[in-house]
Structures are given as structure tokens and as C-alpha cells.
Amino acid sequence: MKKLLLSSIIIIIGITFLGRLSYLQIFNFSPDLLDDPSIKLVYDYPERGYIYDRNGKLLVANDPAYDVMVIPREVRSLDTLEFCKLLNIDKEKFNKELNRARVYSPRLPSVVVPQLSKEDYARLQEKMRHYPGFFIQKRSLRYYDTKSAANVLGYISEVNERDMAKNPHYIQGELTGRIGVEKVYDHILRGRKGKKHIQKDRFNRDIGPYKDGILDSLPEQGKEIHITIDKLLQEYGERLMHGKRGGIVAIEPSTGEILSMISGPTYEPSLLVGRERSRNYSKLHYDSISKPLFDRSISFEKAPGSPFKTLNALVALQEGVISPSTTVGCSNGFYIGRSKKGCHCGGGKRNMNSGIYKSCNAYFVSVYRKIYEAFPSSSEGHQAWAKHMKSFGLGQYLGSDLHTGRKGRIPTKAMYDKWYPNNSWTATTLYSNAIGQGEVAATPLQLANMTAAIANRGHFYTPHVLKKVNGKDIENPKFTEPRYTTINKEHFEPVIQGMADVYKKGTAQYIQIPDIEIAGKTGTVENFMKIDSVKTQLTDNSVFVAFAPVDNPKIAIAVYIENGYYGGRYAGHIASLMIEKYLKGKITRKDMEQRMLTRTLEREYAKPYSGEEFKINEYDWSQDAIEPKPETSSK
């Protein structure tokens, strides 16, 4: 037994080893090519898809760019000074980059100078052979055929480690969309990269395709897309927005297609391309006052103001608590308990029509109260009211194909129960909601969508920006099927009549556009800010929603201008001009256009930061002149 012990151990070990080795070498071999240093995988990047506007006008294309690359261990002694001069960078930076490349890997290529211009490239190309270890790699950069729509288009940048972890498709150095269309439709635009496996010999020389290329794949071009944006309208809107802060959203009511989406202030999309990208980005990112990277058209949620009255009118009609002819007396104001609240409508007897076109607060507070009082308790009344409001897409994400945005707010019962415990709240407590001033909040996109729903007399399509992929119209039912509001169709006519009269004889009568019948609603929203922890009133926000033509709406628009004073001033002007631009293609009210292009609100925006006392709601705007933004000429 003892004599056999050692022999059996020797045999058992031998069998174990042979078993393990046969497992490793015969059964387990998984051809993980990348793991084999003798097979190099090379990617062939496809061109990123172009982006066109709704009319086929080019917005984004590609431009070749050239990176200077280095393989550190192949670098021989070189005339650094001369080379730096060629590359147009200083010696210190060059040495720093070279060192970084060496630390990263002596054998693998690294970028020394990214994204040379075509001119620099031409100059460098013929001298390159004097600098072993360096070579030039061609890449494709985004080229923007417009100075507008940065917030819609978004930008692309290199993937980071997080992207790569999330999506194994990406590899180091690849580009991906960051915001906007570039991000949302990255999977369409980027195409599919091709792969080539290259066999190396032991001197690390390429000796041809591995296994005659049976594992290789060709790159697949990125698809081109058409977006719903109207390039000319977008550019025009940004010119009008010049010097102002706020958002504009225009929607085609019959499809839900977003015609333009303007956020002011904005930036030129080409700033975030090329060598200066990160410097420019920091500049934009750290502008914490005007926040150019903040997309006000979809992320700026504020009290909607008087345009919200139209919805209250619709809810009251739907619930049957009033008829269009029901009248309310306005005594230049109304009473909440014993305190009198003001109204700017001029006083007198108001029915629905005049209540809307004169924007009578007293009328709508009364209507709002009637909605609630039709129910056994105010909380039931509130819930019914909130349900109607939400059916217009308020207080929730609309489900558009935009990458970001806010959902606005329709206050909930729970919120009021918390604020006013023991059921102590009634419609009177919440009267501000009647005039769009209370707890309700909406983004310009939501206001535009709400207007589109009114224009369609009771339904809307989820707003979206994608129109065509490779020339084929989208068929996503999410965007092509209507969403109905809870208001019956017949209740819209009286409200729309009131909105049309806003232009004919109401708060927007001075900004009429010849030959176009527009329905609109002004809003003048009180506006507060904490300055040194003191709640201070600022100049009112100027709001306007409109659609036109009244009978066959082609455009619904919402304009929200921060501190623009009354609704008919900045917002009303801009909305009217946009409508005219879109429907006629040219501007007949040159006086109005001139007024908007040459006015700025910078003085208004500086007030809260001046540290001094300031006046609000100044009627005189003659000091606020600005050099108009030049018209961009598109190719």
C-alpha cells in the first residue's frame, strides 16, 4: 500500500494535468481574436448621416478634419521647433502631448494635435515624411450650414468611459451625440462601423487580412434624416430673439411637427466643433446668468399666465357650469374675501367672448369658482379640473422625441392638502389658477401644444422633430395618432371666437397681420425673484399663444419672453411676425419687425444684479436699442 502511494499520486497528477490541458487546448479554445496580439482589429468609420430641415434644406453635413497622430516608440530625433511651427502650437504643449502619448502607450497611436484645418493639413502633408512616428489620420467633423437651432440639433463629442460601459458598441475615440437630435437619433445617424482583422507577423508587420477577411464587415453609412424644423423660420425666430431671454415653440397642429424651437440666448452650433470645442463649451457652461446651454423652449417651466384662461373657459363649458353668454360683472377688479384684487380689462359686464379678448380676471375667477362649486367638495372639483388640464398635456412629459425638458405642473390634491390641512382649501384659495398665475406651470412647448389642441378643436399629436429617415416619412404611431382632450369639440368655437377677437379688438389689436386671421391670447405674468433672500417683484414676463389661420390652422405658436412686460409687447410681436413669416414667407409689417429686431431686454436682466433699487414694468423702451442680428445667408 505504502509502496504504491507515491506512484498513484504521480499518476493522478499526470491525469489531472492532461485533463486540464486538454480542456484548455482542445475543448475550451474560444477564438477571441482581440485577445490575440497577432491579430489587429481595425475599424472603418462610416460617415455620419446628414440632417435636413422639413423642406429639404441642409442643416448639418460633414467636413473632413485631420488629426496628427504619434506612435511614441517610432519617433526618431526630430527638429521640434520646426515641427511645432508647422503644427502651429508651442513647444511646451507639444512636449506635454508627446509625453502624455508615451505614458498612454509607446506602441499605440495617440492624438498629438487634433482636428487640423484643411489649410494646415495641406501645408503639413508634404513634410510629414521627415517625421517618423507621426502620421495624419483623417476624420469627419460636423459641418453646420446654419448658425441657428443649436438647441435642437445638439452636438457630438467623443464617448467617455460611462458611454462605453453602457453601450459596448462604442470604442475609444468614437463620437456620439450629446444632446438634441444628434443624441436622440444617434443610432440612425451614426451608421455601423466596418471591421477589418489584420494578421501581423512577429515583427508586427501587417501581412494581410486574417483568414482572407471572412470575419470582416463593411461600414454601413449613417442614414440621413429630415427634421420637422423649418430652417428659415428657426433662423428668423432666433433673430427676433436676439437680446431677449425666453423660448418660442411653433407646432403644425395637424401633425404635431415642431416647426421651430427657439431658446434665447443661444449659441452657434459650430462653436462646439473642432479644436476650440472644449474652450467654447466651458464658456457657455459657466455663463450662469444667461445660461445659453439651458434650452428654455422645453425646460423653462413658469406660470403660463392668461393663455391658461382659455382652458378654464373650456373646462367650464364642458362641465356645463356656464354658457358662452353667462355674464360676470367686473368692477375693475374682484373680491377675494374682503380684499380686492385688480383687473386690467377696464370693467363692465363680461361674457365669455369679451372675457377672453379683454383678458378679464374677474370673469375667469368667477368661472373657476363655478367649476369647483359644481362638485360636492372642492377636492372633487379640483380633481375633475386637473384631469381636464392634463388631457391637454400639461403637468406631464409630453412624450416627445426631445432629449430633455420639464413636465410643468398641474397642482395635485395631495399638494394642497399638505399646504392647507384639514380640507381648508376651496376654489377661492386657489383663485390664481384661474388666471394662470398660481401653482400651474408650463413650458413653452406645452403652451404651444395646448394651443395646437385648441386649434384642432380638441385633439393634438405628440410634438416631435423627426420627419423622415432616408427620405421616408416616419410611421411611429406614437407621433401619427391623435390624442384627444376631455373637452367636446363644440365647446371650442366660442373660445376660439374670443381668441380671434383678441386680434380684432382685444389685447393684440395693434399687432394684427394683414390678410391672416389669427386667434391668440396674451399673457402678462407676474414674476418674482429672491434678491438677497428678499422676494422682489421683477418686470412681468411677456407671454403669447396663437394659431393661424383660424379656420384651417397651419401653425400654433407659444412665445415666452422673460421680463418682456405685457403680453402684446415682446411675445405678441414675435408671435405675429413668426406666423406671418411662416404663412407668407415674407414680412409685410416692417414696422413691427424693426421694433423687435432692434430691441433688447439686457437692461431689464441686469436690474436684479445691479444691487440698486430699480423700477419695474417701465412703459418706455426707447433706451433698449440693439444692433440687429444680421440675416444669415444659407447656401
Binding site: K3, S7, D35, R202
Partner: protein
């Protein structure tokens, strides 16, 4: 002395295995240290050139061993042992540090690693002690002395630090078992190892469950007449569970991360891919790379000098501890299985030779030689193919290095010399 007779008496089969292994070893070293620049295989500035020199010198030392009286080794074994201990002690004063371990004497042309000759000397000394007419391995006192002979050099080597080489000495306990040390010592050690591994792999609860299952099976399968010794079995079960708990405690509280990582790599404890990736890049890098390289050799290998991973220096220490990787990549399963078979046949042949010795000293020394070769071969290849944790010891006759080449050659040929003398001793 060197007459015709020794050619007839020497075991040519062992010599054939030895030469085959040395030759394959050198070819592997040549391949893994090969550079593209033209050089002669006799270029002594290259590692394969130096190894060729060491092999030549070893062959000469074989002649020397053969020329000596067989009884010389037995007679002077105590002297060798004492000299070895002194040389190990001397390292604390004059040692040269390479790669963090003070294991060498700098002799100018050559770095001597005294732990290699110490293996030979200890094997001789142990055989000498055990074969003494006064010694009885059944006696506790003699067991203790025998253990001390093994333990002292090991203790001197551990602080160099070179735990791998120290471990080798414990293989000499095989000699004791062969000579009559009760086998339950081995049984206990084996059981402890199984509990250790099971605890780490499955946890204490599963150890208890496995134990329960085994006891129940025992109970069901026993003969009716056999009465179960209830109390000892319960005591045994409690001991096993206590041991399992203490393993858990030591692993989690006494071990450092680097130790834990080695075990978790060995026993595949880590399932989190991110952490696994990290282990593969740090502590498990060698094992991962060597496994991959061996894997990539498949059945037939990539061919001599065509191992891309060998060429790319992907496996560190490939000419020394990881030399087997080169065989795996360039010669494939054919090559690796030939090497395994050569080792197996050599060891079995040596067992056969040891068992036919009439002299107790020769037999015991033979067992010592087998134990030392076996443990090197077992740990080294086990580590390279990923069935054992990383313990850096050389592969006999293969790995680059003069000291171990001399050491293993001396071990083998002293025994072969003793074997040539077996008939004379027997008279």
C-alpha cells in the same frame, strides 16, 4: 572506477528522460528569449546561451558524480547538511537581493542560490538519519528529529522571502510516510485541505451539509453488526466545523487582500466581472496570460518561434517559472502532453528504482529525490495551467537558472550513482 561496468549498470532510461526534458527545456528558453537580431546560440550574453553553458557544466558535474565513490555521499551527508545550513544563514549577511528576495550569493560570473544545493543536502541528511540503525520511525522522538531536519532549512528560507522554495522541503515528508510514519497524518492533512477549499468555495453551511450527508451515507451503508462509535464521530464533526469556521475567520480577517485575491483567483470565487477583470490585470495577470497562451496553442501549436504571445512578451518570467507556457503555445497539446508524460515516466521509473534498492539509505534518498522533483513539477505546472495558486518555483530541468539546473541534476545523478551500486551494497 569508470570502467565498462558503470555503463552497463547505470539506468539509461532515466538518463534518456532527463536528456529529453533538458533538451525541450532549452529549446523553449531559446524560443522565449529569442530576439530578431542575429545571434549565435553560443552567445553567452543571451539567456539561452547562458543556459546552454549551465547545461554543459551540469553534464560535466554528472561525470564528477559518477567518478566518486557511492558511499561518499552517505558518509559526508551530515557535512553537506551543515554546510548548507551555514550557507543559508550566510545569506542574512552576504546575500544578494534580486526581485525582492535575498536568495543569492554573487559569485561574480554566477549568482548561486544556496537553497538549491540545500535540497540535495537535506534529502541526503534525512536519508542518512532515517537509515541509521538506531532510528525507529515509529518512535515519536525520532519522528520529531526527522521533522526538524526538514524544518530547519525551510525556516531559514522563508524569511528571504522565498516561501515557494521552503514549501518544497515539506515534500520530503513522503520519505517518512514510505518508511512507516502513520498514514493518518497524511489523511488529516488531506481532509484539512478539502475542508479549507470547500469552506472558501461554498461556505461553512455547505461544509456542514456535506459532512451531514457523508455521515448519513455512512450510517446507511454500514453493516448491521457494526456499532457506530457515536461520541468520536460527533467530536470529529464538531472539529471539522470549528476548523471550517476558523478558515472563514482567518480568510476574512487575517489574510490581506493580496492573499485573498490569489485564493479567489485559484478557486474562481470572484463572479463580479469588473473585479475579475481587475484581478486579471494585477495579481492574476500571469496566470491569465499563461492560460490564454497555452489555450491559443490548441492541439498542434503554432510552431517553433511562431508563438505570438511568447514573442510579444505577454507572459512575464516566461523563461523561468512560466517556461511551460512556451511549450503550450508553440507545440500545442501534443507538446504539453509529451512533457507531462516524460515527467510521469521519469518519476515512476525513479519509484521503481528506489523500490529495488537493497540499501535503506539509497531507497530513502531515492524517495527524497522523487518527492522534490514531484513537488516542483506539480506546483509549477499546476500554477501555469491555473489549477493551483501562484507559487513561484522552477520547473525541474526546464526553467532558466544555473543553481536549479545543477541542483536537480545532482539530485538525480547522485541517486542514479547510488543505484549503480545497489548490488554491491546488498552483499
Amino acid at each position: 572506477m569508470f570502467g565498462k561496468s558503470i555503463y552497463k549498470r547505470i539506468d539509461w532510461l532515466s538518463i534518456f528522460f532527463y536528456l529529453a526534458l533538458v533538451a525541450i527545456g532549452w529549446v523553449s528558453i531559446y524560443s522565449s528569449t529569442f530576439t530578431t537580431t542575429e545571434q549565435s546560440i553560443f552567445d553567452f550574453s543571451s539567456l539561452h546561451g547562458k543556459q546552454l553553458f549551465f547545461i554543459g557544466a551540469s553534464l560535466i558535474s554528472i561525470l564528477l558524480i559518477m567518478a566518486l565513490e557511492a558511499s561518499f555521499f552517505e558518509r559526508f551527508s551530515s557535512v553537506f547538511y551543515v554546510i548548507s545550513l551555514i550557507s543559508l544563514l550566510g545569506l542574512f549577511l552576504f546575500g544578494r537581493t534580486i526581485a525582492g528576495a535575498t536568495s543569492w550569493y554573487d559569485l561574480g560570473f554566477f549568482n548561486l542560490q544556496p537553497s538549491e544545493p540545500a535540497k540535495v543536502a537535506t534529502a541526503l541528511a534525512l536519508a542518512k538519519y532515517l537509515s541509521d540503525i538506531q532510528t525507529d520511525i515509529k518512535r515519536r522522538k525520532d519522528q520529531l528529529y526527522a521533522f526538524l531536519i526538514i524544518l530547519i532549512p525551510a525556516v531559514l528560507i522563508i524569511p528571504q522571502p522565498d516561501p515557494g522554495s521552503a514549501l518544497v522541503f515539506f515534500a520530503l515528508t513522503f520519505v517518512l510516510f514510505r518508511e512507516g510514519l502513520p498514514l493518518y497524518y497524511l489523511g488529516i492533512a488531506f481532509l484539512a485541505l478539502i475542508v479549507f477549499v470547500t469552506t472558501l468555495k461554498f461556505g461553512v453551511v455547505w461544509v456542514a451539509i456535506f459532512l451531514g450527508i457523508i455521515l448519513v451515507l455512512l450510517f446507511l451503508l454500514k453493516k448491521k453488526s457494526f456499532k457506530m462509535p457515536i461520541i468520536p464521530i460527533i467530536g470529529f464533526a464538531i472539529l471539522v466545523i470549528l476548523f471550517s469556521l476558523s478558515v472563514n475567520f482567518v480568510f476574512n480577517n487575517v489574510f490581506q487582500d493580496r492573499h485573498r485575491d490569489r485564493f479567489s483567483l485559484w478557486l474562481r470565487l470572484e463572479n463580479d466581472p469588473a473585479k475579475l477583470e481587475k484581478i486579471r490585470k494585477t495579481i492574476g495577470y500571469n496566470t491569465h496570460q499563461s492560460e490564454k497562451a497555452i489555450e491559443s496553442g490548441q492541439i498542434y501549436g503554432k510552431g517553433f518561434l511562431e508563438g505570438t504571445r511568447t514573442k510579444g512578451d505577454f507572459v512575464p518570467e516566461q523563461h523561468s517559472d512560466y517556461i511551460f507556457t512556451t511549450v503550450g503555445e508553440e507545440w500545442g497539446f501534443i507538446g504539453t502532453s509529451i512533457v507531462i508524460l516524460l515527467f510521469t515516466f521519469l518519476l515512476l521509473r525513479l519509484v521503481y528504482l528506489a523500490e529495488r534498492q537493497k540499501s535503506n539509505f539509497s531507497r530513502m534518498f531515492g524517495y527524497g529525490v522523487i518527492s522534490i522533483l514531484l513537488i516542483h513539477y506539480f506546483i509549477n505546472i499546476g500554477m501555469v495551467i491555473g489549477v493551483l495558486p501562484t507559487i513561484g518555483i522552477p520547473l525541474p530541468f526546464f526553467s532558466y537558472g544555473g543553481s536549479n539546473m545543477f541542483g536537480f541534476t545532482a539530485l538525480l545523478f547522485i541517486f542514479l550513482k547510488l543505484d549503480t551500486n545497489r548490488l554491491k551494497e546488498g552483499i
